[in-house]
Symmetry: C2
Subunit: 156 residues, 2 copies
DNA sequence: TTCTAATAGTTTCAATATCTAACTATATCA
DNA sequence: TGATATAGTTAGATATTGAAACTATTAGAA
């Protein structure tokens, strides 16, 4: 149980610092500024074609009104498109525009480069450890979300 | 370099999800609601006794006015104390109140428990991998901050 | 078939968080 | 000593988010 305690503690201390680097880069690369929630929205829609608003809200951890507003802004900027779903007229179908795909790709590229800058001095075996850990963590934190609801986002 | 790419990509995808869980717990446990920046402020001051405002701002990735306001709110709630520094009257010295320490302890405890809930099903060897990875990542993301400035936060 | 309940999303209002510009006070340097 | 640098505050503007209220659509019960 000591390891479990230590993992929880380290995660709590490290995750915010990682996010700080990510946020800084999202906001500093040339071109379109994206907030973290905007970036996460684009990523979610990219990974979940035909997504509607509610699963997006759930993924973001935001309420429906907040998510609706967020999407509004992105629609206004022609980054995503929003249309009525074919199977259920209450639902929206969200999609990235071409512009949105470009912006997402640029943001990911720049931010991943930044992270690579930070990580590049690590030897390969340590990168392997980190990669393995991330592969363990990712499903858990997606899984946590699944437990809350039954809607499972599809992952590439 | 493939591993480096993959690490950067996974980090970019996983860190926000981890933060989502942390944020949700910070906001849901009984007692005092803390925002992530507030929590990070308390943690920083706890780990850096006698800290002034500028290194805190730097740590948070916020501007001085924003940090000043954030601290204002916490001072008003008697969570931290603020006084003029002895060596330099331009500088503040920030400290946790007793109340602040209680609140931080409670927030950490609850959030760590939440993370433990998520992680507990992992076998010990996998926890070891995660722990090792976090121990590798943490200094890097603190180090990144050091590179930006010369002021090195002391760590327990 | 009709009516009620549930669901998806929007709008309004209020609160909170953050940045920029401008400013004050203090310390350092030429 | 005066100019410059540094630490922090205030005011104003903008962005983000939740709660309450509302509309439209779908599903389920009678």
């Amino acid at each position: 149980m000591e390891k479990l305690d230590e993992c929880a503690r380290q995660l709590l201390d490290t995750a915010p610092q990682i996010m700080r680097s990510i946020r800084a880069e999202m906001r500093s690369h040339r071109g379109h500024d994206l907030s973290i929630p905007q970036f996460r929205t684009l990523t979610f829609i990219h990974q979940n074609p035909e997504a509607s608003l509610s699963p997006l809200a759930e993924h973001l951890g935001l309420t429906l009104p907040s998510t609706s507003k967020l999407v509004d802004g992105l629609v206004n900027e022609k980054i995503i498109s929003r249309r009525e779903s074919k199977e259920d007229r209450r639902k929206l179908t969200l999609a990235l525009t071409k512009n949105g795909e470009d912006i997402l790709r640029a943001a990911r590229g720049a931010t991943q480069n930044r992270l690579k800058d930070i990580l590049h001095e690590l030897p390969a075996d340590e990168l392997s450890v980190i990669l393995r850990a991330l592969n363990l963590l990712q499903p858990l934190f997606m899984k946590g979300m699944k437990e809350a609801k039954t809607h499972v986002p599809a992952h590439s």
